[in-house]
């Protein structure tokens, strides 16, 4: 899914978060720094952050292993969201606070 502009990426990721067609990358194990995967932040909360993103909050680079696959990074309000898009949705590589501070505990 190469060559998509920011607006298309934003629309696709928001659609994924709304309809549940997303997954979290796992290299054989679970990285707890992905707060969405770990259940420490919700999909609507992440969607709120993404909605506030504009072009200047978006970076796009080729995947270090796979030619033709772009990795997207959204940085906004202290949030760092890294993902790539596949045919059936979004795969989040990381969703975390840049300061390293976790979100408030959820009981």
């Amino acid at each position: 899914m190469a060559g998509m502009g920011f607006r298309e990426v934003k629309k696709a990721v928001l659609a994924s978060l709304a309809n549940g067609r997303y997954q979290h990358a796992a290299r054989g194990s679970i990285d707890t720094k992905n707060l969405l995967q770990a259940g420490l932040v919700t999909a609507p909360e992440v969607a709120d952050v993404i909605r506030r993103c504009r072009g200047q909050h978006h970076r796009q680079t080729p995947h270090h292993q796979i030619a033709g696959l772009d990795v997207h990074v959204l940085i906004r309000d202290g949030w760092y969201i890294k993902l790539y898009l596949v045919l059936d949705g979004t795969i989040f590589i990381s969703v975390h606070r840049q300061s390293g501070e976790p979100p408030r505990s959820r009981s």
Binding site: G28, G39, A43, S99, G100, S105
Partner: protein, 205 residues
Amino acid sequence: MKLYRKGEKGEAVCEECAKLVSTTFDYRDVPFEDGLGTVKGILAAVCDDCDRVVATPPQSTPAIRRAREVATRPVEISVPAPYVEILDLALYRINARATAEHRKVLLTYFANKVAGDPDPKAVVQGLVTRSKAFSASLGRVPRRRLSFKVTPRSHALISSLADAASASRTDLLSGLIMQIENDLVRPDKPKGMAEVEAAMAAAYA
């Protein structure tokens, strides 16, 4: 809301195979990357080529969260900002790429060091006295939250050190930060740096 099912096909990057692969959803036990526990029997996307777990769907997140809570214990304290700055400065001296995640490694390293002293209670009480004097000298500064998850063993160690000295966890950890300041921040040549570096490297091997 999409519900993924066993046997369903998808695609994802497999870093082991270094390519975009087709995947099949199946139930697997998946460990946490930091070694603190395993999530049992969750639905995961498995690489069709190498059989490795390459992704998890949202429906597995509640089980991931529960497994994490069982495998770890939270530590949350509120301290004046300079304490966090001292901790981060010490980490920066050890490794300029250290992140907030490393704070707990450094604190538990020093907790273990204190526990190994012939009289840990006296050490903790001395450090707590020093930290109270330091806090009193700070004036009006913002407060910061230090929050991390540790193994049940480290949590028990922190609790037992605090209890033995009749101190709170906040006082104990503030005291440990005073020791970190003394050993790693203040001196031009930090004390015991090689051991600390080795411990940090081992924690994230």
